[in-house]
Symmetry: C2
Subunit: 364 residues, 2 copies
């Protein structure tokens, strides 16, 4: 008796809706995401899902230009009463790195607001260069506020958001206040978060309501002059420089002062927060890597201290000690944090960054 009730319930719950869902899928209506609200661009751009119009910065190193096409930190916000949210999107043929999931590298990640907080609702990976996927379904017909993160490590060549026929789909503006630009390495860009919304600037934004902009540049946050000029020209209310892992100690010694001075001159009175390199887990056993990171952190500390001693104001240095915890389990490959490492990193970084920002009128 109990079994047959269960069997009937099972059919009711899973079999019939599956068929009606197939019909729903055929009827999904798509809207170009560029017509919704696009977050995370540092300035208005011609390509809707690129952080910067790189054509306007001809002096940037080619690797930096290329990485700036990645949609790291870009998200689309909208509201809908559809009980299903889907997407069609295209990326390049680039191969997924071995230390990342395809969902993070080339996929999409949906959040829906629940009692004032952004809550994970669905993530999908690609099925080819162009993909179509349902992000979430059976959501009910109430109005929902949605935040859809784009691929961290690939270029989003196109994106459409799909809802059920007859549903409302509208832009949802200004979900985050103020702007904090984070210029940094692969760790900023999101290697190796498990999905786009788990990159640390995105998590910081959801945790604080402040717009943390992802200027992660994979292995190429090397403080070149042209990159420094770009960073200093981007309008934000505060600047985080998490770019110590990529340059050699010598490059840090050569380049950090120019970056920080230029930023100070062009953005007077705004906080500049420099973050030491996390201690790469590989460096605990590999004596060369250990020595390199120690030298990088020594070099940036020397540079920041010299600028402070020379009287520069509104400049801060956050140390990396203990940022990944003490059990050595916080990375995927000895260099890039996994979600556990990122969580621990934020437990150290977030209160220090917030304590600095709170000193400034823009964040009061």
């Amino acid at each position: 008796m109990f079994r047959s009730i269960f069997a009937a319930l099972f059919v009711l719950l899973f079999q019939l809706p599956a068929r009606s869902q197939d019909m729903q899928i055929q009827a999904i209506q798509y809207t170009p995401a560029a017509s919704l609200y696009v977050e995370g661009r540092f300035m208005p751009t011609k390509k809707p899902f690129q952080r910067v119009d790189t054509a306007s910065y001809p002096l940037l190193p080619p690797a930096v230009k290329n990485l700036l096409t990645n949609s790291a930190g870009i998200a689309v916000t909208f509201k809908t009463n559809s009980s299903l949210v889907a997407a069609k999107w295209c990326v390049t043929k680039r191969k997924v790195g071995a230390n990342m999931t395809a969902i993070a590298y080339k996929g999409l990640d949906l959040y829906i607001k629940n009692k004032g907080l952004w809550q994970y609702a669905g993530a999908v990976g690609p099925s080819g260069d162009c993909s179509e996927a349902i992000l979430a379904r059976n959501l009910g017909n109430q109005e929902k506020e949605c935040l859809l993160y784009l691929p961290l490590y690939d270029e989003a060549l196109s994106l459409e958001v799909g809802v059920l026929p007859g549903s409302k789909l509208e832009p949802l503006k200004d979900q985050f206040r103020k702007r904090v630009l984070i210029y940094g390495s692969s760790i900023v860009q999101g290697a190796s978060a498990s999905r786009p919304g788990m990159a640390y600037p995105a998590r910081l934004s959801r945790m604080t309501g402040i717009n943390f902009y992802n200027m992660g540049l994979s292995g190429n946050a090397k403080m070149e002059k042209a990159a420094a000029d770009l960073v200093a020209g981007i309008q934000a209310d505060a600047y985080v420089l998490d770019c110590v892992p990529n340059p050699s100690p010598e490059q840090i010694t050569d380049r950090a002062a120019y970056l920080i001075r230029t930023l100070r001159e062009r953005q007077p009175g705004k906080p500049i927060i420099v973050v030491q390199s996390i201690i790469r887990e590989k460096g605990y056993f590999d004596s060369e890597i250990g020595a390199k990171i120690a030298a990088q952190n020594q070099a940036i500390t020397t540079q920041v201290n010299a600028l402070l001693k020379a009287g520069m104001k509104d400049l801060y240095l956050i140390k990396a000690d203990g940022m990944l915890g003490s059990d050595h389990e916080g990375t995927v490959d000895g260099t890039h944090p996994n979600d556990l490492g990122f969580h621990r990193m934020l437990e150290i970084l977030r209160p220090q960054i917030l304590a600095i920002l709170k000193k400034y009128p823009a964040f009061k």
Copy 2:
């Protein structure tokens, strides 16, 4: 002056060793890993990196047989005084799932013992069906105890461990005591840990020193009769059944009692610990998924309670409440924990499992 010292130091530290390392790489000497000590097999097997000789279990569903070829939970232990550890290995042509890294799916993960604790030392992904890679270098020439995890989601067709010429390389036996078999879903197998050593049975083993055996079977831990007979015939000191996520509520109602009773009969006096399904994050918004998991957990609770009421001894049920934390950030795709989710899961599971095991003489 400071700059030129740095430049000289940089050349000394990074340029010259790089060249001598290239010569080291050419000279690496390989040894078949099967001649070292292989952990994680449930019984002696013909193929050295398979958990079970599936040919001996003709009644197993084909999907289960196929999944048992995956090297989830298999690790090789050895000691060496080589300052470099490398590997050559081959896997199948299977595609990496979008919710996992290639390192976890097809790669290798090395730990080295440090002051009595296993510590992460290096992980590598595949470069093709067959790969060669250095896991760690610059380790010094002291004797090191090593633990090398194999791919979680693919078959390791071959594996050789490489060390520098003239170095010692010997098997390292019995690093973990006793045996706890965990029969379960993709979550047990390791989706979506960032690397092989982050699968939760492997983390439990390193945390406790107890041998937790990974009988994760992706989406196919469905308690079929032949699978139940296999589980019940594997010699262990305790059994964890984390197999609620895969079967339908009706299948749980149909099959759980047979699995638990058979295990009880064939392994008298040993603890059987049943774990409810984690609440899939997708189910908070998707009402169908939410209802299905509630029904699965209701079904297993009913079955376990009926057996307890009928007088079965040494049977326990661990509830899933709060296992992934409260911020909804603990999964990669709404179903499979990321490393943050696994960490939280272990904070709940580990003390409960250990408290049960400690009641039994085998674990005292």
